[in-house]
Subunit: 221 residues, 2 copies
DNA sequence: TCAGAAGTGGAACTGCCGTTCCGTATCATA
DNA sequence: TATGATACGGAACGGCAGTTCCACTTCTGA
């Protein structure tokens, strides 16, 4: 989380009041919970209720709903980045790959709003931009290393992998709240499909994150 | 399509006017277009505009937005069922399987609203229920036959297959409007993962449509 | 302890969008 | 062609949810 700066303009030369900061934290936590459960249609009033504050307090800290969503997304990106960096510590590139990409759909599933946001918006909040870049670098590393070690086939790119596992999250979400068994079934199947062996030829070229971004921008027209 | 009965109560002993019926068709077509592009957030007024009628006409034929959505979904189910039955004609069970399940994500992608509806609603419109059952029977046939012929592994069920390819549709939707190449890449990868060979063991049991339905109902609590 | 700055709650406001309503236009029947 | 039933368009309505506002409370620093 990046709670050091609030969206409300604090006059210079004075600290934000401690109760105010505590409330901000509560709102952020409540919002994460609500958006995870309800997706982006989760309501401000519900966030306020769960945080134990009034809607006014929510809206002072996050002047618009979009701002609130962005704050939540940023904190989610941070935790995902943490998992990626942790996986990169693993000496075995293939195992590192599996470790992270088994966790990825669970992450998506826990934060349904993330997927929706990615699907609907052209670009992410500027505040999350550096984070996001660090994350794509980490994912690219994971994939490239796994390929170098022969754990997965060479004709897929980092963004291919990322999209496929996002798809798994979506698929299991269709079946109901949280379905860890299904998720793992599908992750296994896809991992099997990613092994080198006598894999069938793929059309197109491996997709990296730069290309993926271009596609999304083109879509925005 | 099932245009024979309108939602508006036609007094007995009299035919619906032909212009009225034509308008109803136009509305349905426009709605299919709009919901495909915009998802369920597509607006009634836009549907009316594209159909070249007033909002009043839309709302007389489909008294509520939900009714309109259901009508569109029903017609989509029909066309999907048509494709499944066509694939079943194919003498080679493995090829039949591929033919249909390559087409499935494209179908999902063309009708984004379908996925959203499936994700959000507990159950489908009652009018679509028989259709839906016929469809699940056809899909089950395709999968069982493909397994019997050795084309795909035995530890997956028809609903597993269905969910996985819905996931592909979602994944490619994340990349932008329509991405046929990506879709095919991912379908190929998953098909590779479904082949028997030395596949890794899957947790859980093959999922059929009856179980899937139970899961969804449990989710509704 | 006290003054004033900072923050709070929630009622009121606002805009969006589905739905209703009714004066008018179109079609079917004789 | 005449007549009335049927259908039409689109303005007006109503409810929902995000945002604003301000009288009131809480905190901070002296």
């Amino acid at each position: 989380m990046l709670p050091l700066e609030s969206d409300i303009q604090t006059p210079p030369g004075r600290q934000q009041r401690v109760d105010a900061r505590r409330n901000r934290e509560r709102v952020l936590a409540a919002a994460e919970e609500v958006f995870a459960q309800e997706g982006l249609k989760g309501q401000i009033e519900e966030v306020a209720r769960r945080a134990g504050v009034g809607v006014g307090t929510v809206c002072r800290n996050f002047p618009t709903k979009q701002a609130l969503v962005e704050a939540v997304l940023t904190s989610m990106y941070e935790s995902l980045l943490g998992q990626a960096l942790e996986a990169l510590e693993h000496p075995d590139a293939g195992a590192a790959f599996e470790q992270f990409f088994v966790a990825l759909p669970e992450f998506h599933a826990r934060h349904r709003a993330l997927g929706e946001q990615m699907a609907n918006e052209l670009e992410l909040p500027t505040s999350a931009q550096p984070l996001r870049e660090e994350l794509t670098r980490a994912l690219t590393d994971l994939v490239v290393r796994a390929q170098a070690s022969g754990a997965i086939r060479n004709d897929i790119g980092p963004a291919d992998v990322s999209l496929l596992f996002a798809g798994v999250a979506h698929a299991t979400a269709l079946a109901g709240e949280v379905q860890p068994v299904l998720r793992e079934r599908y992750v296994r199947i896809i991992l099997d499909g990613m092994r080198p062996r006598e894999a069938s030829a793929l059309p197109g070229r491996p997709l990296d994150f730069a290309q993926l971004r271009k596609m999304k921008q083109r879509r925005a027209k």
